[in-house]
Symmetry: C3
Subunit: 291 residues, 3 copies
Amino acid sequence: MFEVRLVQGSVLKKVVEAIRELVTDANFDCSSTGLSLQAMDSSHVALVALLLRSDGFEHFRCDRNVSMGMNLANVSKILRTAGNDDIITLKADDDGDVLTFMFESPRLLYLEKGPILAEILQSSDFSVTYICFDLDQDRISDIEMKLMDIKSEHLGIPDAEYEAVVKMPSQEFLRICKDLSNIGDTVVISVTKEGVKFSTRGDIGNANIVCRQNTTVDKPEDSTTIQMKEPVSLTFALRYMNSFTKATSLSSSVTISMSSDLPIVVEYKIADMGYLRFYLAPKIEDDEDQA
Amino acid sequence: MFEVRLVQGSVLKKVVEAIRELVTDANFDCSSTGLSLQAMDSSHVALVALLLRSDGFEHFRCDRNVSMGMNLANVSKILRTAGNDDIITLKADDDGDVLTFMFESPRLLYLEKGPILAEILQSSDFSVTYICFDLDQDRISDIEMKLMDIKSEHLGIPDAEYEAVVKMPSQEFLRICKDLSNIGDTVVISVTKEGVKFSTRGDIGNANIVCRQNTTVDKPEDSTTIQMKEPVSLTFALRYMNSFTKATSLSSSVTISMSSDLPIVVEYKIADMGYLRFYLAPKIEDDEDQA
Amino acid sequence: MFEVRLVQGSVLKKVVEAIRELVTDANFDCSSTGLSLQAMDSSHVALVALLLRSDGFEHFRCDRNVSMGMNLANVSKILRTAGNDDIITLKADDDGDVLTFMFESPRLLYLEKGPILAEILQSSDFSVTYICFDLDQDRISDIEMKLMDIKSEHLGIPDAEYEAVVKMPSQEFLRICKDLSNIGDTVVISVTKEGVKFSTRGDIGNANIVCRQNTTVDKPEDSTTIQMKEPVSLTFALRYMNSFTKATSLSSSVTISMSSDLPIVVEYKIADMGYLRFYLAPKIEDDEDQA
């Protein structure tokens, strides 16, 4: 028996939208500790790793480990029928080849008691929220989806110490990747004590964007911080970076970890639940032309 | 002589946008009681019926009954040149083959005296509104459109007692039809005392959305009410349902009337003026596969 | 040495977006008096003339006259990487074939001291603004673009007295051109003492839009004023008029100058800096059918 209930159903919607461009089919691995996913993109260049810890769910029951293979385009279609404020429940039998999505819309209660509810949601006291919602529920959807058998190899990703770790507003990172794509195909990310530089070159010309360390802002999520052991400069395909930024809505900040001999890690934290991480190997630059 | 003046010109814009996907050419029938239209969609499966009563117009003059044939794509092009706040006047000679649209923009008065105007409009005392606008009018458009000769048969639609009548928020109905289209092609609408269930099945899986009766809301237009003599369950093509929901902006609620031996009626009321109704015959399900 | 700095960088973005549909490649001519551009559209029917006076820049240095050839699609790509609130600096060596764009984002200062800044910007005291921004700068982009050699003939445009000059809200003009394009291909603009009439005819029918003189409005930019020596009526291709209205965001009003023997001038003023003007020869109507 597998049954989990997520009050902030929008998290699941955002996760699937964030990865479905990179990954076609994937196994969602469920155990008592939570829900996780690991998948390579179709060209086997980038790796996606998701963790949603069980304690982030209002209710989480997973009697035995199970791996549920899904086509992400189909999951996306189904989740698009859920509202952003919907509570999402996922259910499956142990031997089942069917996953049931249940969406509950707390629409009317919201209209009447919005401010109180907002406060309750903030307090994260989900069991109270649950009772409130359930009394006034007036729209419930349930959708059954057939599961797939997907062969997949689980890669062990060793914990590593990175030479440079940059934390910056996720919107800023999104805009830089998008802006540079107007000029070139690859980005050189260079970290020094002063800041992080994103560079590209193309037929039109060359572009450099420098973000300085900045911690004197009112809100921590607006800050740009750099932890650095030694300067690093690596080159990546902008196409993948742009795919990674589909996760921007999951978190107001993004953490970029780099070492000269390791894939870059672009991480979006999922509040109180876990993370969505993207790994990408740097391009090796034989000559100038490749940049 | 035919001349009618509609202060809330946006109603006409919305009506034409609501039906132009279903209907290519249609006759607008004018008599002293009002403006009406009846038309089949091009595949002769759905029927559209419109009524705009004469007393909903600020001014309504129709000396003798006249049937004006129009291409709805052209009417839509013309009405798109009218602003949402424009007053619309329609004019035609008795023997004329030309209809004149006149649009008056109360733009500047709005900017200066918005709050007062809003109050006047609410009170529906149109003759006062008219005088105000006319003094400050600074933009007038008139467009002459050639009328067409369209052969059409007027079907008598008998008044019927329906086994089940569901009134629900029109936005909710719109979303359900759109959501289910992500999964399947047809919808089974089932009404019981507890609520109304919308179901579909497709390659991905099966989906059910249940809306419970709900009358304990602050605003009557947010309520879902069910009047039922006996349970009904009928199947319809989602393609048509989605077309009908183009009328959503006309009314905050929609009324769905069903009997097992009659076409479904999906009705959007037009405040103080009449209605826009869509009729669609149920699909007969010979076997499971058709659903 | 050429180096200019524009605090309201959005002006440059808007100018390029306004003309890039009409003009593919063009020379930006720089002298101590300012930055200017003159270019024919690719079909040699319309003429674009831009002036940005040096005193509208925070900093303006141009040691000797220089003509910088640019592909406007490339310039547009580069400027799209600048935010709307960015300060833009342009730099080139005297003998250089490279132009450097520098964008500074005053993002965080904005968030903290928005209201104060807004006031400073309003006062146009740019040197103060500059110091403020520079202290908190945390994102700087620089982009190098190769310049092109473009052969161009500089036309002398003689100052003329126009028979009729209409000043009207630029949004109103935009909407009229767009609306009439739904009906026909050309517009007849007729100016009389009472107002300005825009007419078209097409397969659907005929349309006339009349804007009356109106100076009794609260805001001068909402007024429609007509200065007229004698009535004028000229015909133009709507396609070009619609291109001209891409400049709408540059100014809240547009000035249209017409004489029966001269090209029409459609002018958008650029506050404190200059103007963007479009010239278009009238169509000669041999017969009714051409209209």
